[in-house]
């Protein structure tokens, strides 16, 4: 991820944020197309499928919602599951909050709405970079706007053409390899390795909990393990 030599202006940060997000957008393209195709196949109208990407904008919970809808779930159950699956965003918000506390509401509202796994990882790395650019929120914005535009465009493509893509291509795996590519460079130092190990084992053991609650339990235990390991091993080397 290119985070050095960014021109510390609004425009420079915005485009640097967009550029840093390009690989993540590549990973999201097949995911968005498949979402559009699956949503229509699961009983959503084309307008409803497009509307979900436009108003909700949370990829993995949108996928889960379509599979629940296909299985005949109620509105209340789908909404509750979405809440649990997206609770991880509260952790992202808590991480980014201190960096954006000086921003007015007209910034916080859209940045809050546009917060995704991808833009979070890109933005937090920018905020943690050494330089003192006053426009790092423009970097965050550039990343978020491009993720959002791409997600909506790919949803439409999926709605109208997705039926032609054979499911055996396994295009939804693109999101998994994208997340692997995001994860590996973050593993620096033994405490992080411990956090990752505990989160991974717990995620497998807790996979059968209802409403995808296992994801949240695994994340929380992983974070706790990282904190405890930090006391034992000392700070990670990258700090």
């Amino acid at each position: 991820m290119q985070l050095t030599n960014i021109e510390p202006t609004r425009r420079g940060e915005f485009w640097a944020g967009a550029k840093a997000t390009i690989p993540l957008i590549v990973g999201a393209i097949p995911f968005g197309i498949i979402f559009g195709a699956l949503a229509v196949r699961s009983g959503f109208s084309p307008a409803g499928a497009a509307g979900m990407s436009f108003f909700v904008f949370a990829g993995s919970s949108q996928f889960i919602a379509t599979s629940l809808a296909a299985g005949g779930a109620t509105t209340l159950f789908i909404v509750l599951t979405t809440f649990v699956v997206n609770l991880r965003h509260a952790l992202y918000s808590a991480t980014l909050g201190p960096y954006v506390k000086h921003l007015p509401q007209r910034w916080l509202l859209p940045l809050g709405f546009w917060l995704t796994d991808e833009s979070f990882v890109v933005a937090v790395q920018r905020y943690r970079a050494e330089d003192s650019s006053p426009y790092k929120h423009w970097f965050f914005l550039g990343s978020a706007v491009f993720m959002y535009a791409n997600w909506n465009l790919c949803t439409w493509i999926g709605i109208f053409t997705g039926q032609a893509i054979p499911p055996e291509w396994g295009l939804e795996f693109a999101m998994v390899v994208t997340f692997i590519g995001m994860l590996v460079p973050l593993i620096i130092g033994r405490p992080t390795l411990v956090a990752v190990f505990v989160a991974g084992v717990t995620a497998v053991l807790a996979n059968n909990l209802p409403n995808r609650l296992g994801l949240l339990v695994a994340a929380m235990l992983g974070i706790l393990a990282g904190v405890l390991a930090e006391r034992f091993f000392g700070e990670p080397d990258n700090e």
């Binding site: 509750l80 509260a90 998994v176 390899v177 590996v184 992983g222």
Partner: protein, 105 residues
């Protein structure tokens, strides 16, 4: 299921998780141990999403040779580790999935 009520509800709970914490957490000082623990959020969450996707087939641990996502995932991890290049990781990871699927078919 009511389609638009579902979408409206999903929008409310998703925004309700993302925005309030983002807007409030900077204003209320976080205790230092909590703030320091937040650096483990990205790796822990990403791992919790990835591992079941590649290790489980229909909810069971699957170490068999025909679990193509597992081997493609391991290869993607190695590529990411050696190259630190996200785009290369995505491309080789997908090629590995298709190659492995083709080999075992």
């Amino acid at each position: 299921m009511n389609e638009w009520l579902t979408i409206f509800g999903m929008m409310l709970v998703t925004f309700g998780v993302r925005y309030p914490v983002l807007a409030l957490v900077g204003k209320i000082p976080l205790p230092d141990p909590i703030f320091r623990s937040l650096k483990y959020v990205p790796p822990a969450v990403l791992t919790a999403i990835i591992v079941p996707e590649i290790l489980l087939t229909d909810g069971r641990i699957d170490l068999a040779f025909n679990n193509a996502p597992l081997f493609a995932g391991i290869l993607a991890g190695l590529v990411a580790w050696r190259s630190k290049n996200l785009l290369l990781t995505i491309v080789l990871g997908m090629l590995a999935l298709w190659g492995w699927t083709w080999l075992i078919s």
